[in-house]
Symmetry: C2
Subunit: 203 residues, 2 copies
């Protein structure tokens, strides 16, 4: 197609739905997809690289970036800032890449307020029962933590209507194919091709 700019995809969904796995698989499958790199004010852990795992900023730098409108969204967890720097996303979109932001619902709603033209995708488990089993099956969490995550999931479901698509992860390959179809289809949306249409119509 003729629209050369990439599209912004914001992906949310409860812990345990496999949204991280889906995004990584998309990245391997398509060279027109990149993941956004988050910024954080926490210290790098051993092995973490600046610009790969996170952009590491001081708290002061992070706060300046917020004040200067350079963050697409941000939140504070355990006393550390986390967020999405606008510059990297903009650069990738301009280069024709489809940028995936994997963030929780509150951050997604911040991005949506600024980017209504973005594509909002909610990854769903096939059922709550299945989600519970996946969280328990990980075996890494105490049962209270599992219950806590399920409660959080229910709160997150409250935002589903704000998303454009749901991708049910009943099967990882099927889910990746669905997401991939969404990326291709969005390129064809009429309102994303106004300039090309004008070009053709004006001969």
């Amino acid at each position: 197609m003729k629209n050369n700019r990439g599209n912004l995809f914001v992906v949310s969904g409860p812990s345990g739905t496999g949204k991280g796995t889906i995004c990584k698989a998309l990245l391997e499958k398509r060279d027109d997809v990149v993941l956004s790199v988050s910024a954080t004010s926490r210290s790098p852990r051993p092995g973490e690289e600046n610009g790969v795992h996170y952009f590491f900023l001081t708290e002061e730098e992070f706060r300046n970036n917020i004040d200067n409108g350079q963050m697409l969204e941000h939140a504070v967890f355990c006393g550390n800032y986390y967020g999405t720097p606008k510059a990297y996303v903009e650069e990738m979109l301009a280069a024709g890449k489809n940028v995936i932001l994997e963030i929780e619902v509150q951050g997604a709603m911040q991005v949506r307020a600024k980017h209504p033209e973005g594509v909002y995708v909610f990854v769903m488990p096939p059922s709550l029962q299945e989600l519970r089993e996946r969280l328990v099956g990980r075996g890494t969490e105490a049962l209270e933590v599992v219950e806590q995550r399920l409660k959080t999931a229910e709160r997150e479901f409250g935002y589903i209507e704000k998303y454009n698509y749901i991708v049910v992860n009943d099967d990882i390959d099927a889910a990746v194919n669905r997401f991939s179809a969404i990326i291709d289809a969005e390129r064809c949306r009429m309102e994303r091709n106004i300039e090309f249409i004008k070009e053709v119509c004006e001969g």
Copy 2:
């Protein structure tokens, strides 16, 4: 996905853009896609089968069907009625099939008034120059007919904004893949999965 009903796809586009070829290729590629069968009041030509090429109706039957609201859209060409019977489309949608209606813009607008939930796809040539070359290249039409078709194309372009997607036919395989992605993506639209979302959220 969990929504079992199929979706309605209405496809328009100027003569010479290859929309018929795209639709036939989709039909071969996917067993969840069917083409709608039109009705007509003209007489069957040798080899034409009722229910396959057309539903053949008498003029009186056709007019009764219109009066009883049994036609999704209709028009008169050269004194014969042509149109889309509602029953066949409804039956196929209920059976989970994605139904493709290949009709011109006036008919598409009639369908759109009744089915805003349908998906409206406009097939575009890569350029007007390319469209002209394809029409001339067919070699079957006098140059005046080509000019007439290009004028019609320009009028049809005036309706593009009423469509949800454009599919540029710069390459037949690429165009078929784009359309196929649109079919898969539309199954994932949030508003088409309200019942499934309720099911999951209510545990």
